[in-house]
């Protein structure tokens, strides 16, 4: 499961980075910072991309955003690794 989520998160980041051109996002790994490199519109775009991919892979809608999404101190999207962990829990709990 984690491998699948990791793959779809990185796919989404690479697609997003075609527009953003952030050097740090070219080859994302677990430690790559995420939230600090994205403006709020890009965070929304990232979430949209992840939700679409989850729907394609798992056949159901899973809400990835919550009330901490845009909170710099509490966001689960601080790094690629924390984003993958958070999204995996969401997919498991919404199953």
């Amino acid at each position: 499961m984690r491998e699948t989520i990791d793959e779809l998160v990185k796919e989404t980041i690479r697609e997003l980075n075609e527009d953003l051109n952030e050097a740090a996002l070219e080859c994302p790994d677990e430690q790559t910072p995420l939230f600090e490199l994205l403006d709020s519109m890009a965070v929304l775009d990232f979430i949209l991309g992840v939700e679409e991919r989850i729907q394609q892979r798992f056949g159901r809608y899973v809400q990835v955003a919550d009330e901490t999404t845009m909170d710099a101190s509490a966001t689960p999207f601080k790094s690629v690794g924390s984003a993958v962990d958070f999204i995996m829990k969401k997919v498991q709990n919404d199953g």
Binding site: E18, D19, M41, L44, D45, A65, T69, M70, D71
Partner: protein, 359 residues
């Protein structure tokens, strides 16, 4: 907790007037510093495409509402002097004082026995205004005119790339009348701890207008604005919306005793595409029952976005049959509310653009 039910009031007509000038996002992109890729992203996630604003800088929200009200009176063959109360919900009144509602009382030909006052609210304003109107009917009145809207393009600084491309101008007029056996339910919430996240800081008594508050400044987020212009912390408003709106629907379903499957249409404040898609997916409701594209064509119409969506997207439905609706608004305050109401073949013509001389 404000949870209220009525069965003696109903909406008879809804009319909305939008700004006469259509502005395409492509025409504004350069002024906001959007490159082609940013523009593509914003269209996809936020739904930016066009918006309607007033072309004449002297036109006020009350002018749009007055045009709507005249059309409403004519369409329903209503004598304006039969109206008991006039509520004007807006953040863009004609003057700081007196209430614009009182000016409209005279302008629309209402009796001097009319109760008239303003309510200062934005995106939740239609729900709060409708609740107040239903309460007036429940207290013994026969007819209430609810006017809602904003010249939103005027409270956002023209070069504020975070807010201005969202904003559209509109004014609606809604007639509420005494009836029987028309069940409705309202849930209303306020949380002032978040007041700074969506605010016009200067211009009130707390921070009066000074030469400094009229100076444009560039902020950390790259947006340019003055202290007398609206500021929105988009991230906080996003978090707030995601947190409160789904929970509010659960409250409303419990209060009304009706499940979402029994609702014909969910007409929500048209904040942005992502928020509406997110709510629709959580509710398990498709775009055919939860319109999402009013903002894409007209911009965010603030308190007029719910009636604006009825007129822009569902005019035929509301005009031709009995409809059970959930209306929901959420935003500045912070404030949020929803209601479940029933309407039966009401006067709901397609949205009209402002025409000088029609108000």
């Amino acid at each position: 907790m404000a949870e209220i039910r009525f069965d003696d009031a109903a909406i008879r007509g809804i009319v909305t007037t939008a700004g006469d000038r259509k502005v395409m996002i492509e025409d504004e992109a350069e002024a906001f510093g959007y490159d082609e890729r940013t523009l593509k992203r914003l269209k996809r996630s936020m739904g930016f495409a066009s918006r309607h604003v007033v072309s004449d800088p002297s036109v006020c929200t009350s002018d749009l509402c007055a045009q709507s009200a005249h059309r409403l009176f004519k369409g329903l063959a209503i004598d304006p002097s039969s109206i008991d109360a006039l509520l004007f919900v807006s953040q863009t009144p004609d003057y700081r004082a007196p209430s614009t509602a009182i000016i409209l009382q005279d302008r629309l030909g209402l009796s001097t026995r009319t109760v008239a006052f303003d309510i200062n609210l934005g995106c939740s304003g239609f729900i709060n205004g409708l609740y107040t109107a239903y309460s007036f009917i429940h207290s013994g009145m026969e007819r209430v005119l609810l006017c809602v809207g904003d010249i939103a393009s005027r409270f956002a600084y023209p070069q504020d790339k975070n807010l201005t491309p969202l904003m559209g101008d509109a004014g609606s007029a809604v007639l509420i009348e005494r009836t029987v056996n028309s069940p409705s339910a309202f849930v209303l919430h306020s949380d002032g701890s978040g007041y700074e996240h969506l605010i016009i800081p200067a211009g009130g008594c707390r921070q009066p207008v000074t030469p400094e508050s009229l100076e444009p400044k560039t902020f950390e987020d790259g947006a340019i604005r003055r202290a007398v212009d609206m500021f929105m912390n988009g991230g906080e408003i996003f978090n707030f919306t995601i947190k409160v709106v789904p929970a509010m629907f659960e409250e409303l379903f419990a209060l009304s005793g009706r499940e979402k499957e029994t609702v014909d249409y969910f007409v929500l404040h048209q904040a942005n595409r992502y928020i509406l898609q997110n709510i629709a997916k959580r509710l398990g409701v498709g775009a055919e029952r939860l319109p999402m594209d009013t903002m894409t064509e007209y911009g965010n119409q603030n308190s007029a976005s719910i009636p604006g969506t009825v007129n822009a997207r569902l005019s035929n439905v509301y005009s031709q049959k009995r409809v059970r609706s959930v209306f929901a608004g959420f935003g500045i305050g912070l404030s949020w509310g929803a209601c479940m109401v029933e309407t039966d073949t009401i006067f709901a013509p397609p949205i009209q653009l402002y025409q000088k001389g029609q108000a």
